[in-house]
Symmetry: C2
Subunit: 334 residues, 2 copies
DNA sequence: CTCTACCGGTGTATCGATTCACTGAAACGA
DNA sequence: TCGTTTCAGTGAATCGATACACCGGTAGAG
């Protein structure tokens, strides 16, 4: 046993300086005590390498300074990027991030969130991937929660960052329509097979409006999940002329499938993504996609949470607008 | 104020059941008390939705059940993937993950690690990006630490997952040599400009052995950092025939640069990466790279830490062997 | 020359769970 | 029937930091 030398406590400083524990506590935060004492205490604290035990502090003060970040699937590149952005943003507020990953299983989300809350996080940021089940009322009543692009049944939210999926879908479909596409396959997440998800509904409605033939295909939320599916869809006699993927990760798999089949993109088939991941301009061909500013998303979400924790109850909903980025994976129908 | 209803405590259960706090504590873990009491306590606990406060438990018991994961740069795709794998692995052991990101600044690493340790994590996993500065002796003596592909000056480690960079470099250089390449640019991380990093040293030594002309170019550890650099390198009159990137993220930027310059890969120039990120087979052209099994890495690192926490002091060093994955971004020199 | 305000501190309860030392009662062997 | 276990449970201390109540001494206001 290398024996971890126990961390110094406030009590040790008290003994060392001959002061009371209370005095040291005040001195360390520069309150109520004489400058001379403050200096003396500081010196000893520095020498011992003291820092207040956050566990004890949390027990007393009720706050842990830690936020739970629950993402639906860290296998998804967009959510990875989001996690990065959120973590960075939280850090600027002096908050730590506990990360949890439902790994693609929406049924896990409530359980994991509950476990995070049990860990006594001060707040929760939830970026679900599907229609999360269960009743979030109790959890969210106890722990301030901000959602990012998702709905939590029964939740009472401290904030909400919504994505205007409807507009995003509209931009994509109009883009494809303008290029002459008529038969379009839409790959959505498998978990989202429930037909009432707003994104899928938007697809159906707007396709009808534009007179497009849109087939919704549920798809695993991962790189490897979409490739076989793409192979199947593209092998049909009445192959769609465009594939609209509801995440860039899915689109990457589809691109791979096209390469395997020897199909040219966009010559034989056009591909569109939905996250505009940083890499999407580097794949081949560069992917047409819909961009949702991750930085603004992270900033807004963290902002809501921090405001809520500070007791300020202001505006707590924002809608992130999409912006279609046209690259080389879409072209006119042959 | 929506007023978060405070979480139930063991004391409330005690009052509700008419038992002492002690009895409830024992009952909840099924010890020492009669079966009837256990059942009664359980019933009340369930009804109240009780779960033990981990903060209080940590204060008493010394353990928080949380591990700190410090990565050098979450902007790097490989480290994102690693973070995912580690988080998942920790979860299988019932441990939570606190995530911290040095964001490419090696000078930040020690500070961040200290902050994590101050948060009272039970252990630390560190995947540094560069030659981390500072003295890690004190920190690592107090908090069990496992490194992943990196060295920490002065550290006393609970475990170490090393990458056999030398072999990896060797495989790449021999591969390029066999294809007839002579002039090779090697893009390494900017932070790693110190010439004694083992990877860079390996490059120099093995290039000499093979009679290759290798130029080491320091490069920002990100997608956007490598593109301009690639443009500069590729614009020279005596352009190298191959570029060896010490991370896939860097290689992606280089690929992008090549496309901008209208250079064909591998016709005009061959590109090699060094992480084999899942996306590397999807970029265009699919990237030749060196694979280090992330799953094995994560499993080993977490395993070392868990064993150490359990008091078992066994083997605590493993070397991950590289495997060169040849794809289409490398070809014979024209 | 009082009365009050303030200064620089100290003692103690508190946060929630755990655990050691103890106790009254029942059970049990001799 | 007496002495000893075992059972089921209680009280109090503990972990480390914080905050409230309090206290003697001094300085300034009236």
């Amino acid at each position: 046993m290398a024996a971890s030398p126990k961390r110094p406590t406030i009590k040790q400083i008290a003994e060392e300086t001959g002061l009371s524990v209370t005095a040291v506590s005040y001195a360390l935060r520069g309150e109520r005590v004489s400058p001379a004492t403050i200096e003396r205490v500081q010196a000893v604290a520095d020498e011992l390498g003291y820092s207040a035990d956050p566990v004890a502090r949390a027990l007393r003060g009720g706050r842990t300074g830690t936020i739970g970040l629950l993402v639906g699937s860290l296998a998804d590149f967009w959510q990875q990027t989001l996690a990065h952005a959120v973590q960075r943003e939280l850090r600027t507020h002096g908050l730590h991030t506990i990360l949890a990953d439902a790994d693609g299983d929406p049924a896990e989300e409530l359980t994991l969130a509950a476990r995070l809350a049990a860990q006594r996080v001060d707040g929760l940021l939830v970026a679900p991937i599907g229609p999360a089940g269960g009743d979030w009322a109790q959890l969210t009543a106890r722990t301030p929660t901000v959602t990012i692009a998702g709905r939590l049944p029964g939740a009472e939210l401290a904030g909400e960052v919504a994505f205007d999926q409807t507009s995003g879908v509209g931009e994509v479909l109009r883009h494809l329509h303008a290029l002459g596409h008529q038969r379009i396959a839409v790959l959505s997440w498998a978990v989202a097979s429930s037909p009432d998800r707003p994104t899928e509904r938007a697809v159906r409605e707007q396709a009808a409006t534009l007179g497009l033939e849109c087939e919704l295909v549920p798809c695993a939320y991962s790189l490897d999940g979409s490739r076989p599916l793409a192979l199947e869809v593209l092998d049909r006699p009445d192959r769609p002329t465009a594939i609209f993927c509801l995440s860039d990760s899915i689109a990457y798999g589809v691109l791979h499938g096209c390469r395997e089949l020897g199909l040219s993109v966009p010559g034989d088939v056009s591909i569109v993504g939905f996250d505009d991941h940083p890499l999407s301009r580097l794949v081949s061909p560069p992917l047409t996609s819909v961009n949702w500013s991750i930085d603004r998303t992270a900033r807004a979400a963290v902002g809501f949470l921090v405001d809520h924790l500070a007791g300020e109850r202001g505006e707590h909903r924002v809608v992130i607008a999409p912006s279609l980025v046209v690259r080389e994976s879409t072209g006119p129908v042959a």
